[in-house]
């Protein structure tokens, strides 16, 4: 397990350093467009993927870089996509919010809030009809839990007992709007009762708690017991998107969450020396640097494909 945990810590650090690098690249205008950074929520993506089988699938959100990397997506390919290059998985047409890699079961980040929930439900229906034994994770934020698709998709998956894990990453703010401004109940997971499915609230800063909850949900799903609603309490370290200065939250609150940082927690749990930690970090930084170089050197997309790529 200690070797496995080292790999988990490395995955978390890869996401963290990738996002920190991106913040630089976007702020300095090297990369155009916008992005929504995952830093702070790494225990969720890595915990979910530690439990999933490689052929299991997931749908992601606008804040999807961490999901992609945890599922085994290539940092170089992701960086190239963000850079709008032809070597990105979406060939530069998607950018930050529209990355997919079907070869690893990553069915796509998604610019429409809670747009992925019906897609995940459909993927789970296909898995059930084809009897593949796959489960599907539908990530969404607490903001997405107020979309109609939340209700429609969870109800449909519950009625048909589909193998879906509805994983809500409650990072406390829907853009600038605080949880208690848009929810009348203390938890989102409590809604599970309304669909006749299992629901639980999990400390999303703790890798092991995430793993345990996902294990329970995946077991139910594979046993034909239907979907689960799992609410992960987390905090995003950066603003909602590139231009957000986080004036709606306090520096004290940020510090409180930073004190519970998922990477620090895991490092402490592992009893890792600073030297060992630095070795992993240097390795990760080299990989991020290589991704940046790959993206920088990659070709621009072909304008000839602009229209011809529309239809299959």
């Amino acid at each position: 397990m200690s070797q496995d945990l080292r790999a988990v810590l490395r995955d978390m650090l890869l996401i963290r350093r990738f996002e920190e690098k991106l913040d630089d690249l976007f702020s300095s205008g090297v990369i155009k467009g916008t992005s929504h950074l995952y830093a702070g929520q790494e225990a969720v993506a890595t915990g979910v993927c530690a439990i999933l089988r490689p052929d299991d699938m997931m749908t992601s959100t606008h804040r999807g870089h961490g999901h992609f990397l945890a599922k085994g997506g290539s940092p170089s390919a992701l960086m190239a996509e963000l850079w709008g290059k032809a070597t990105g998985p979406s060939k530069g047409r998607g950018g930050s919010q529209h990355v997919a890699d079907y070869s690893i079961g990553f069915l796509g980040s998604n610019g429409i809030t809670a747009g992925g929930l019906p897609i995940a439900t459909g993927a789970a229906l296909a898995a059930k009809m084809k009897q593949t034994g796959q489960v599907v994770v539908a990530f969404f934020g607490e903001g997405g839990a107020n979309q109609g698709t939340f209700h429609e998709a969870i109800n449909m998956a519950a009625v048909w007992k589909l193998p879906v894990l509805f994983v809500c990453e409650n990072n406390q703010y829907a853009m600038s709007t605080r949880y208690d401004e848009i929810f009348a109940t203390p938890t989102i997971a409590a809604r599970a009762a309304g669909y006749g499915i299992a629901g639980e609230v999990v400390d999303g800063t703790d890798f092991f708690s995430v793993c345990e909850a996902i294990e329970r949900g995946a077991t139910r799903a594979r046993n034909g017991e239907g979907p689960s609603l799992i609410e992960m309490l987390v905090y995003r370290y950066y603003g909602h998107s590139k231009s957000d200065k986080c004036e709606y939250r306090t520096r004290e609150e940020e510090a409180e969450w930073r004190a519970k940082d998922c990477i620090g927690k895991l490092q402490t749990h592992m009893g890792l020396s600073n030297e060992e930690y630095r070795t992993i970090l240097e390795d990760v930084d080299a990989e991020v640097e290589a991704a940046v170089e790959f993206a920088r050197e990659s070709s621009e997309p072909e304008i000839e494909d602009l229209e011809s790529a529309l239809y299959a």
């Binding site: 890699d101 070869s103 019906p118 993927a123 698709t149 998709a153 449909m156 529309l310 239809y311």
Partner: protein, 327 residues
């Protein structure tokens, strides 16, 4: 050739494709035991079971989204949206998901999805059960839009739509469900994207689709008795639009009237007219005219609904006005 109702031709297309390809399945509200609001899917659950003819909750957006999710995972779903008006509820999954996944995710997985939906007025169903909203759909790159007028075309085009690797919205006509037509024997398909000249004439081209093709043919009969031979082009597919067949006819007749059941402003007729003007300007002997629904919600009252919708007499009047102004 055997005759089938338009609705039965659609059912037969689905049944044949479901027998041929185990990946094809149906999703929709009340489609299994009840057979669909217009009985189009009647009997299919008995043959294929309720796993493949799957009743859904009333959740149009998610029904379409589930279809998209299943499609990218290798299935070939046919989604039933009970009235085209309800497509408004499903526009996010159609526009932002079905239409874009193949393109925006770098051509990794096609989206072989068919969305069947009945459109149009004439049954006094009122403003939210009578609309023709095809123009919304042709405005979305990545969607194909089909709207047949005849039973034979409905069957052949639906089979092509099911076999197509792209999302196709298949627009059916409520008023045509009960109309019989001759059907070729055996397994046949009709390619998407091909219009058809369904009546030859030399004086004017009437360009229409779905039920307005039938009204245009009626108008052509009346015009013929008055010495005007109209050619009728049935578009059959609205996106991609077969402008070549339209242009060939207009170049021959020198006069074009576009007939569409949807409302005038920003409607299908607007797009067709633009294309005709772009392609055929030098051949036109008169301005292109449009016969379309009024820019109002479609009222329930029979008197009001008839006044709002185009029909054969309004087409005849438009043709005669064109000849009066530009002999």
């Amino acid at each position: 050739m055997p005759e089938l109702y338009y609705s039965h031709a659609i059912r037969e297309a689905m049944a044949e494709e479901m027998r041929r390809d185990p990946r094809v399945f149906l999703l929709g509200e009340d489609i299994a035991g009840y057979g669909g609001a217009f009985k189009v899917t009647q009997g299919l659950a008995e043959e294929f079971g309720t796993e493949r003819v799957r009743n859904t909750p009333i959740s149009e957006n998610t029904i379409v989204g589930v279809g998209v999710g299943a499609a990218v995972c290798g299935m070939r779903p046919i989604v039933d949206i009970m009235f085209q008006d309800f497509i408004a509820l499903a526009m996010d999954q159609l526009v932002n998901h079905a239409a874009k996944f193949y393109y925006m995710y770098g051509n990794q997985a096609p989206v072989p999805l068919v969305v069947r939906t009945p459109a149009g007025g004439g049954r006094n169903y009122g403003p939210t059960h009578s609309q023709s909203l095809e123009a919304w759909l042709i405005h979305v790159p990545g969607l194909k839009v089909v709207a047949p007028a005849f039973a034979a075309d409905a069957k052949g085009l639906l089979k092509s739509a099911i076999r197509d690797d792209n999302p196709v919205v298949f627009v059916e006509s409520k008023l045509l469900y009960g109309v019989r037509g001759e059907i070729p024997e055996g397994d046949y398909t009709i390619p998407l994207g091909e219009a058809k000249v369904v009546r030859e004439g030399d004086a004017v081209t009437l360009i229409a689709y779905s039920r307005m093709t039938i009204e245009s043919l009626k108008a052509a009969q009346i015009l013929s008795s008055r010495g005007i031979e109209a050619e009728v082009v049935d578009l059959r597919t609205l996106s991609p639009l077969d402008i070549d067949t339209v242009a060939a006819s207009v170049e021959k007749t020198g006069r074009a009237i576009v007939v569409c059941e949807d409302c005038l402003t920003g409607g299908i007729s607007a797009e067709v007219m633009s294309r005709v003007v772009e392609e055929c300007f030098d051949f036109l002997q008169a301005p292109v005219k449009r016969v379309a629904a009024l820019d109002t919600p479609l009222p329930c009252s029979d008197v009001l609904e008839r006044a709002a919708l185009p029909d054969a007499n309004k087409i005849v009047a438009a043709v005669e006005a064109s000849f009066a102004a530009y002999p």
